[in-house]
Amino acid sequence: MNQENGKSEKRVGMLRAPELRRACESGCLGFVSTDELSDPAHVFGQDRAINAIEFGADIAREGYNLFVLGEPGSGKRSLVRQLLEQRAAAEPPPSDWVYVYNFAKPHQPNAIELPTGQGVRFRDALAHMVEELRTAIPAIFDSEEYRVRRHAIDEKIQERQQAAFEVLEKRASEKSIRAVRTPAGITLVPLRDGELIKPEAFEALPEAERKQIEADIQELQRQMLQTFEQMPRLEKERRKSLRELNHEFANYAVREIIDEERAAFSEIAEVRDYLDLVQADIINNIQMFTQSQEMQEASELPGGGQQEGGDGMAQALLGNPFHRYEANLIVDNSRTRGAPVVEEGKPTVQQLVGRVEHIAQMGALVTNFMLIKPGALHRANGGYLLIDSRALLMQPFAWETLKRALWNRETRIESPADMLSMVSTISLEPEPIPLRTKVVLFGEAMTYYLLSAHDPEFQGLFKTVAEMETTVDWTPESEQAFACQLAAICRAGSVRHLDPSGVGRMVEQAARHASDAEKLSIHIGHVADLLREADYWANKAGAELISAAHVQKAVDMREERIGRIREKSQESITRDIVLIDTDGARIGQINGLSVLSIGDLSFGRPTRISARIGIGAGRVLDIEREVELGGPLHSKGVLILSGFLRERFGVASPLALTASLVFEQSYGGVDGDSASSAELYCLLSAIAEVPIQQSFAVTGSVNQHGEVQAIGGVNEKIEGFFDICVARGLTGRQGVLIPSANVKHLMLRQDVVDAVGGGRFHIHAIDTIDHGIEVLTGVTAGERQSDGSYPEGSINARVAARLANFSRARKSADGRASDTGERI
């Protein structure tokens, strides 16, 4: 790799073995074991991402939440955690939050913010207060003083009631009439000698007397009704007096106890207000406290008795009416050190914003504010919340819920079932809690770009982007940093350390993973996996340190584990089921190279490409496209061929050529333009009628000027053809043509390098089609001369001559058709 002034010099021609694989000079690393190396401050190579994360965490402005994008396993999660935890440790822990009963609207529990660590104290204080009240209030109402005063109220009302009836009785008695109870009320009966007049005796009375009795009774009935109408008023007076008495006694008992708590939380206005409401409610529902112990216990059982006079909600819920005076501590930071850093692995709506649980009671689902459960946004309030974007987007309503929380800057407990009105049951609408959380989303680049493109709110909410780097330049400094990173992984994962050769081999494998001899992959997931597998083989070998051999073993064994499909593919070629020639020469036939990626497996394999030509209208027919097996990039490559032919051979006269190109024995889709140079070679061979050496395979795309351009997967493609050749026996004539721009990407297997070093296999770096066709055919391509012609016998001259023949034949045919009225 010759680098000058930061620009690579293009390497053309047959490559030497040292150019095929860059080695790490492990002897220069300067340590015996990675155990000597200190951990890096952060994952190396991620300075840009680190700066972005620190910026995003630091800026306290609306919408500056973070989106950290990078491939799975790139170490973004651990990097963010490391940075945020360091930062959070220096920040103050956030407030505690409790939910309490809303006495005015029981279905909308109130949230109270308390200073850090005060939540537990408040909750316990309320529980203690209720316990005290349950003892103190019955004692007060069982006192002699209360009994006497209550009795006095009853007596007073009864005396007035009695007095009213005595007046009636006296009037009745004067008229020999008496009141008698009936099953449903009261009636008046006429008497004679103190006894009821029997119906027969009544009938025997003179009519005037009968009428008088009847009139007297009717008059008394009227008076009785008037007296009765006073009764509800008397009863109302009694209840009012009793209520006032209860209020007086309750107030005395309750105020004293609640004043203690009021004093304990005097600094918090919300608590003071809440305690005022508690006091008022206890006084209004004092009968809950005055019940006998047996009734209280019964009421605390599931489905237990309900209280009189309470509001229906609390009664219908859990049976224990005293729950209403408790506090549901949903955020307790009493043991939190610094700001919280919470990672939510299952970001459902309920896991994010909390939920209201229900219990089944008598066949119905009921709840109360004590069943409110916090979500990740509650736990992370005042700190940082980390969520995987893919997991978030896969949960129904979760993304919308999170956005709404961030926009409104509050956490509102919502249930998907409620949103869809799927469940009809008693539920709550807890008061939202102000949100002061920095949300960090992780995701792949595609997720970020899709959200940016399709969600207009996304950019406004996630204004900070941190993108994880995938590679770093391979330099002596990065080798050292890589070694330190390996040391850190060893320590964190209880993996044995590496010797310099092991580090060197890991560095080389990182370059191979980057598919670039000038870059190192810093994909932490892959590095750590390989290291763990190398540790396994080192352990098997009883080695103290991981060496290059163990890393190589890990690489080889992984290849073997996942290599079944590759072997089957190669076997189909070596058994001549898929026809690939690796020797001889054929006109209009060439070995192209493709890469198959299935899961972790990625391997190259040759494919026979053939071209057939004839007289036509200057069209190159892509059979793959015609049968809809070719992708757009492949079709583009084929169309470029037409452009090349027109530019080079169609200037003087139109091309009268029809050519068809096909990937033989290809039954799946074909895409990409990396075979376009091979197709052009094949086409030129067919037109010029010059055979192509089948001992070569070709990769590279081509432009309309005939320049060969870089492609991907160059290492896999070379190794794929090499393996076929090895299986059939290396002849010393076999090789691969690659774009010269891909030379810098070569990190080939050692056996390939060795074969090239031994002259048994060849790799040619090609920069133009002319260069390539000469290698493939052994015939000079021929440069265009000043008169536009090509040297005699050259490929280009043969192509030009053949096309000129086609053109003439076409004209002749067109003339005949015109004479006879036919069209071609």
């Binding site: 009936t182 099953p183 449903a184 009320g185 009261i186 009636t187 009821l196 009704l225 009765f228």
Partner: protein
């Protein structure tokens, strides 16, 4: 040679007779009656008395009642009254049965027609105790019915004529007082209801002879009307 202790008088009571009529307050005596029957070890015997006066009244052409629930007036109809009384009797019987099962006492129930106390006294047989409570206040009370049970507090008062030496009656009174967790007061000189009120009696136990009831039970009726609490009448004291 040891002297054998004289055996105590054996209880001779078999039933506790409880009278009901259509007054709802009558039901409040049920719980109390169960306690007494347990204390006395006797069967519960309910007697529902369909008030003859009420039935006669219903046959008068102009009779009407004022409904206590709605304060509305409606005409009294004999058949309706009779049906309502039967319904109340059925409820009483059911309540008594449940109570007897709960307290593991035997029970019986019968319906008669007449006047409460007289009809009840007419049912008395040898070995019966009679729990009396007239509850004849004509006016609907402002007190809830349940509170009447709660009012049965205060000592058990035994009216015992001097020199009667009725060991069975004393033993019964002691047992009842023990179970009811009340003091037993033995009153040898009864000078009228005022005495009982001053004692704040919770239950009065009285031998029938002491109250000089006539054949129709009128003396008893007078006593019970004046009594401030339920009366356990012991017709035959043996």
């Amino acid at each position: 040679m040891s002297q054998q202790a004289e055996p105590g008088p054996k209880p001779r009571y078999h039933r506790l007779l409880i009278g009901f009529n259509h007054h709802t307050e009558c039901r409040s005596v049920l719980g109390f009656a169960a306690q007494v029957s347990q204390a006395a070890g006797v069967e519960l015997a309910g007697v529902f008395v369909e008030d003859q006066d009420l039935l006669d009244l219903a046959r008068l052409p102009f009779s009407a009642e004022i409904l206590s629930s709605s304060r509305q007036t409606r005409n009294l109809d004999f058949n309706s009254i009779e049906g309502e009384l039967r319904a109340i009797a059925w409820q009483m019987q059911r309540s008594l049965r449940i109570l007897a099962e709960r307290t593991k006492r035997q029970y019986s129930f019968r319906t008669v027609r007449g006047h409460l106390l007289r009809a009840l006294i007419a049912q008395v047989e040898a070995g019966d105790l009679v729990l009396l409570r007239t509850a004849c206040v004509p006016w609907p009370s402002t007190k809830p019915a349940m509170s009447i049970i709660g009012d049965i507090r205060g000592p058990v008062v035994l009216l015992e004529p001097p020199g009667s030496g009725n060991g069975n009656l004393v033993a019964l009174a002691q047992e009842i007082a023990r179970i009811m967790k009340q003091e037993l007061v033995v009153l040898r000189e009864y000078s009228g209801p005022q005495t009982l009120r001053s004692l704040n009696a919770g239950l009065i136990i009285a031998p029938a002879a002491l109250l000089s009831a006539d054949a129709a039970g009128n003396g008893v009726e007078h006593f019970v009307d004046a009594a401030p609490c339920p009366v356990l009448l012991v017709p035959e004291t043996g």
